[in-house]
């Protein structure tokens, strides 16, 4: 029982989150393309949905990187920044879950899974920060 403050569950979760997010991004993009072909998807409804998805992808990269860095170096500042970015990602995820133009059942599953991962991650980050600070 060394004085290792880095949280192993958080690391595992961050890693899984990264892999899952790649799958989530590709799946959501494919479904938006499918929806635009099958349903009536006018341009001024398609643009916000695509913008949110890409914004979430852009946010995800620094968020995961800061999480990894903070957890491994046991520094609370990057972890705190990562937590802040997580809040943004959560909001975008909620948008895709509730306020997308067409919410398919698969959308519901993917987003719910991502949201639960974010929630769990946030909890673990808070505990890790508490452990690093003290």
């Amino acid at each position: 029982n060394s004085s290792q403050l880095s949280s192993l569950p958080l690391q595992i979760l961050l890693y899984v989150n990264g892999v899952y997010y790649i799958f989530y991004f590709l799946a959501t993009l494919a479904m938006i393309i499918y929806k635009s072909q099958v349903f009536s998807y006018p341009d001024d409804f398609l643009a916000p949905d695509l913008a949110v998805l890409f914004l979430m992808a852009i946010l995800e990269v620094p968020r995961l990187y800061l999480g990894f860095k903070g957890n491994l170096t046991e520094a609370e500042a990057p972890l705190g920044l990562s937590l802040g970015l997580t809040v943004g990602s959560v909001l975008l995820c909620v948008y895709l879950l509730l306020w997308q133009t067409y919410v398919l059942w698969a959308d519901v599953l993917l987003n719910a899974l991502l949201l639960s991962a974010y929630a769990l991650e946030s909890g673990l980050k808070v505990t890790a920060i508490a452990a690093f600070v003290s």
Binding site: F39, S40, T101, Y102, V103, L104, W105, V108
Partner: protein, 547 residues
Amino acid sequence: PSNTRDAAQARVRSAPSPATDVARLCVCDLLVAQCDTNCCCDPDCSAEDFALFTACSVPVVTGDSQLCSQKAAVYSLDVEANPPERIFKLIDQVNPSIFCIHATNYKQALYLKSPEIPTAENFDQLLDKFGGATFSAEPDSWNLDTDAQNPPEANETSRYEYGVPVQTEDAFLRLPSPVVSSWCSDANPAGFLVNQATKCIRSVSVEKCDSIQALSMLFYINSSILASVFQVNITVQSIVVQSLNGMRTLLSSSDVLRLPMVLDDLCINAVLGVNYHITHTDTGEIIEAAAAFVLGAISKEALSIEQSFEISFTQENTQPVPLSGNPGYVVGLPVRAGFQPQGYPFPAAFLFASLALSSNKHSQLTILHSTSTQDCLAAQGARAPVLFGYNMISGCKLRITAAMKCQPLAQTLLDVLKGQSFPEFVASFGNSQVQDVLDWVPITQLLISEQMIFHTLQSSCQIPVSLGIEVKWTKYGSLVNPQARIVNVTATITTTTLKQLPPGRERIIPITSSVVFTDISSPAEPSYKAWPTINIKLPFDFFYPFV
């Protein structure tokens, strides 16, 4: 009133809202207030009607099946119950696919779009959006070249064809003519190249004569004729004034328009006749139009007057000569003939000269016209025109007395037989123009003396007793529409010796003249198609190893 109009407009502006309640939708309910057969969802049907159904034509009414869960109305017939009854169930239908629509935030996603009702405000914007070529149903509007429309119209009014009504500014050039009865009808259009002459009766009243349009000159010349790119005005060629007793005077100045007016008890300057002369080019374009008027006076007692109208078409730079066919001769029309002008004695020179044609019909090819007196010397001058295709024979009797001298008698008889001006050339076609010298056939004149048969030359004088004109014609042109063409004209004069009569005696000799038309056209030869030949050729290296 403005309130109701606004309300009505407000109602019109929005289309009716779509029906979305599944329980109330019924596709098979077509008859209003009546039960449709086998339509289980029809609200007009009662339980007794359901008992008579055999099946449900519409078993289920659902919304969009792509939704994850939706309401569905299921209709079925329970045939085991007695009497059969309809079962109506409202269930939730679940779409098991993972790509079913869980929710949608886009109102019009699952419904057809209601079209925007055009109003005064959004009309321009809608026209911009939907008025382009991609929304147009007709391919003609894709052609943005509007200039292409104009040239065909210009061509149609510039060139007239035979029989086409001559167009004027407002309608057609009118030639009043009697229709059914003898009363004038103003609705008869003048056809191009159709020479017409009509007479009809018009009812008049002297008191209102200045208000009757058909009696004033203006009515006949006020519209201008449409021709190519400009319009041809109808000019007044001449005015002839006819007095009440029928005497006609030609007015020297025809510029002044004379309109009908009431003078004492008469109506003067009323139009009694109009003669249109239209000049055209050889391609059918009208270049000039002139009208010659006959004005007269109408007395108070007259209730109707007779008006006569005529129209004639002349090609420019030609004399107005009536054609006898176009181009071949028409049976029954006079054979056209003419003279070589004086001063051209050399035969070769006439190739460069034109013939002088006279429109006086007595200078045409004519033969002696038999009269009732049958006396050659008394009926000098009665001639009949030679009509194409009609063989004619005519004659008269000559009474010879002892006192008659031979030479003057021979000359007189020659005049009687040939007429005052016997032509030298005959037109080979019915429409031969005077300028085309080669289209005219010279008349060959033969002189036959009856006494020559006996091979004795008598020194006594000969008098002509018969003239025979033989016209040889042929069929020219296509087999289905052959045109008659005169090839040869021979005038044969037969003379006989005048024997000196003892004094007091007289003799009667018949004098005859005849015209015979002979068809010398060669019959059509049938020709057959060549037998088909079999064209087989071996390739040149067919016998390769051996050759």
